[in-house]
């Protein structure tokens, strides 16, 4: 009981701060979510050729955006996917064509890879390699000159490169399974 009396300040402060943080959260949460969505939507035209805007579509187990042409036709899809990288979770956006037969673009949404080495996965010169790769076979990252279903790994960041390929492969495979029912809608 004495402990409880001693600790009254901690309890009062705990309640006070809890209330303050709840207020901050309710005030700012919508804005934070909007920032994340804005970034995703702003990338869609660069990930899907011909798309001028994006629209979120409900797919169980996946976060998918539909890339729309000006006339409203589907020009491709953007899949948001995440997976373990070298340091922390890597979150990427993968653009695929309307039939999900080929990758049309890759963007790294969130990463905490090693500065100067692993974070080169965000550079356009590296990401461009993914453009035009077929999705029938899984991609792999190699150190030597890449061919076919291979991309050149970032120097000094093999794990980050392999992780990105793994995330892309898993997400694309999952999306291809769902595509048939999406087209029916």
């Amino acid at each position: 009981m004495k402990y409880l009396l001693d600790a009254w300040l901690v309890i009062v402060l705990g309640i006070f701060f809890g209330g303050t943080l709840a207020f901050v959260h309710t005030t700012l949460d919508a804005r934070i979510k909007k920032n994340q969505l804005d970034e995703t939507l702003s990338q869609i035209p660069s990930l899907v050729p011909g798309a001028c805007r994006g629209e979120k579509v409900e797919v169980p187990g996946l976060t998918v955006f539909k890339g729309l042409r000006e006339d409203g036709a589907t020009s491709g899809w953007v899949i948001q996917a995440r997976g373990q990288g070298f340091a922390d979770t890597i979150q990427v956006l993968i653009g695929v064509d309307a039939k999900a037969d080929a990758i049309t673009g890759l963007y790294v949404l969130e990463q905490k890879e090693t500065p100067g080495l692993g974070d080169n996965i965000t550079k356009e010169t590296w990401r461009e390699q993914f453009k035009g790769k077929g999705t029938a076979e899984p991609l792999s990252a190699v150190v030597a000159a890449p061919s076919g279903h291979q991309v050149k790994a970032v120097t000094g960041a093999t794990i980050s490169s392999v992780s990105v390929c793994g995330i892309v492969n898993a997400a694309v495979a999952k999306f291809r399974e769902r595509l048939a029912e999406l087209e029916k809608r």
Binding site: D6, A7, L9, V10, L13, G14, F17, T20, L21, V24, H25, L28, R31, I32, N35, Q36, E39, D88, E110, K112, T114, P115, G116, L117
Partner: protein, 213 residues
Amino acid sequence: MADSQPTAAERFVNGILPENPIFRQILGTCPTLAVTNGVKAALTMAGAVAFVLVCSNLLVSLIRPLLKPHLRILVFTLTIAAFVTIADRLLAAYMYDMSKQLGPYIPLIIVNCIIIARCEICASKQGPLPALGDALGQSLGFLLALTAMASVREILGAGTWLGLTVLATKENGGWFDPWSIMLLPPGAFLVFGLLMGAVNWYSARASKPVGPA
């Protein structure tokens, strides 16, 4: 007690160099090493720390008659954690890019020893005015130290300062080959050591010590 404690102005001045949190107290070295590969990140970190330090120092100073000795650290940590969470959410809402870049280092301000040390040394013993002076002085000292580190690392590692080109890199048709080690952890340790040496050398010259330094 009040007689022996420094005034608000003294607290403020002490934080800048005589008791600089980084180069003198060697506290808060985690953000000093981790987020100083760019000036913009360093400024954001310093701003977040300043916000948390000022708020925590003021609040702890105001509730100091209520503090129980064995529960004070708990109260400090609770206070700091609350303000850090507010700073983190504010950054995510209004400076989304910076928040993404700093990643886990903003929540890690909770365990930044500069803040808990100021609560213990100053705010829990003095009134709000000296506590405010102390918080501002220490924040300024932290800002200067972080900016110094980040300036050296960004200029040598990327040829830019706050994103502006200082040395034209080969990639952009210039002559400068960036020292990428400066952007990596070893560069942080090298710059930290050299700058600390420079600060010590300067103050040793500025105030000829009577006894052993």
